[in-house]
């Protein structure tokens, strides 16, 4: 069998949802790295590259997991842990999981100004059993990741990097 595919419930919910349309491959890290839980990469189509990104997963099984005022998911990410994630040079995201409904919310974690200390926004939502709705959101995520890597001009920089080894 394939090994190392089992993790915490929230991590597997995110993994299953990200992979459902075949846009991404997800690797569960099983708590090996404190700053993030999942390493994901784009499954390349045509000339695309397998650009990678990192996700930190926070789950809740609270019966009332949303803030009343602005309907944010109460899956707080401590500032120190968020900064550790942001410090990684890859694109980085936080995924909040409502375990009772299996709804997943993805938010970017690029700038240290980001603050998810109490809750996270619920703008980008992935749901179970609605592939048509999810693929629109997953395409947005894919575009986001590609745009990030294109901005770094990694395709030109890497081959021209003068390694001292």
């Amino acid at each position: 069998m394939i090994k190392n595919v089992i993790g915490e419930a929230g991590e597997m919910e995110v993994s299953i949802r990200l992979m459902e349309s075949g846009l991404f491959m997800v690797f569960l890290l099983g708590g090996k790295v404190p700053a993030f839980d999942l390493l994901a990469e784009i499954l390349p189509v045509k000339k695309e590259k397998p650009h990678q990104f990192l996700i930190q997963v926070k789950s809740t099984d609270e019966p009332s997991p949303y803030t009343v005022r602005d309907h944010r998911l109460k899956t707080p990410v401590p500032k120190a842990k968020l900064n550790e994630l942001i410090d990684r040079p890859l694109p980085t995201y936080v995924a909040g999981v409502d375990l009772s409904t299996k709804d997943i919310f993805l938010v970017p974690a690029y700038d240290r100004i980001a603050n998810y200390g109490g809750s996270i926004p619920t703008t980008l939502k992935l749901v179970s059993n609605n592939r048509a709705a999810n693929i629109v959101q997953l395409q947005k995520l894919k575009t986001d990741v590609i745009d990030y890597w294109k901005g770094l001009d990694i395709d030109n920089y890497k081959p021209s990097f003068n390694s001292a080894l």
Partner: protein, 332 residues
């Protein structure tokens, strides 16, 4: 979709379904030729293996190969002497069904080649637990939903030439507020000893109108029939019920209807289209040549037309607590 992604999702969907639906269970990946996960139910120390496959697997030649490998399982290895289940995952709709492949009964491995598949969800969790308990060597108490009263009616028919045919009607009833044991206060040690030797006295088991209808109509047609009641409490008793799957099984149909003799045309018009209380019980017949005697049996009970709607609703409530041992068979 990439095949590897499909496979990973299949494993993850199976693991999540187990974790979400079987409370307090731990799922671990293992390297075994017989199963992919070891599942431990923490509070009961119940351990079983789960082989994860896609939903079409049971209809492939690979399934036959897998069964062959289970036949050759090394029973000297302690970690192999556990029940083995198969999780069939539909990666498209993300549903997971569980089937029961290998049980340990009476110190020997028993393989179910055509496992009956049960949807893995919260509603079925207790049933699945009880199935697994019956597959394990340890005698365990069943879940609250698994505990029932078992009614066994030994049906006998004497042919004209004196030859006897036998069948066994077995059905189960759920405990309810009304349907419960009538335990007497045990006053002396002699009675305590009697109970230890002979078990619970028959008059302490519940026996309501529905039980009466089932037994009395059989008794009218097969006058030598006898009835006993037992409790279904432990995994061994569930295992005994599962042994009935080896018998020839026929359905006996019952219909409880209002007695319309002498009813006025107006009453008849009112009753037109009124539902009858219909249900069935299964008869288990060991000898194949006795099957003809007991098949296509239909019993009708007419009850007073006065208060029919209340009678009907009362019978419907009782019928809802009736189940067949077939619900507990682990092989198709």
């Amino acid at each position: 979709m990439n095949q590897l992604i499909k496979e990973i999702r299949t494993y993850q969907l199976a693991a999540l379904a187990l974790m979400n639906n079987l409370p307090r269970c731990r799922v671990e990946e293992v390297s075994s030729p017989y199963y992919d996960f070891i599942v431990t139910i923490e509070e009961s120390s119940l351990v079983f293996g789960v082989e994860v496959k896609n939903s079409g697997f049971l209809h492939t030649n690979h399934y036959q190969d897998y069964l062959e490998s289970l036949i050759e399982i090394d029973v000297s290895e302690r970690q192999n002497r556990i029940p083995i289940l198969i999780a069939a995952v539909n990666e498209e709709d993300e549903s997971v069904k569980i089937g029961f492949l290998l049980a340990w009964q009476f110190g020997r491995a028993r393989l179910f080649k055509k496992p009956s598949m049960v949807e893995l969800n919260k509603a079925n969790a207790d049933k699945i637990f009880d199935f697994i308990k019956s597959m394990d060597e340890t005698i365990r108490i069943l879940s609250m939903h698994g505990m029932k009263v078992v009614k066994k009616i030994r049906v006998e028919y004497q042919h004209n030439d004196g030859r006897l045919s036998h069948g066994k009607v077995v059905y189960l009833r759920d405990f309810t507020e009304e349907y419960k044991m009538h335990q007497k206060e045990i006053v002396d040690e002699r009675e305590q000893l009697e109970r230890m030797i002979h078990g619970i006295p028959q008059d302490e088991y519940p026996d309501d109108e529905l039980d009466g209808v089932i037994f009395n109509l059989i008794l009218e047609r097969f006058p030598k029939s006898t009835k006993i009641s037992n409790l279904l409490l432990f995994s061994t008793e569930l295992r005994d019920l599962q042994l009935l799957s080896k018998s020839n099984i026929r359905r006996m149909e019952y219909s409880i209807t209002p007695d319309t003799k002498g009813a006025t045309p107006m009453v008849m018009a009112m009753l037109n289209g009124v539902e009858k209380a219909n249900f069935g019980v299964d008869i288990f017949i060991d000898a194949p040549w006795d099957v003809k005697v007991f098949e296509s049996q239909f019993f009708k009970k007419e009850v007073a037309i006065d208060g029919w709607f209340n009678t009907y609703s009362s019978y419907k409530q009782m019928i809802a607590t009736l189940s067949s041992p077939k619900d507990f068979f682990i092989e198709n």
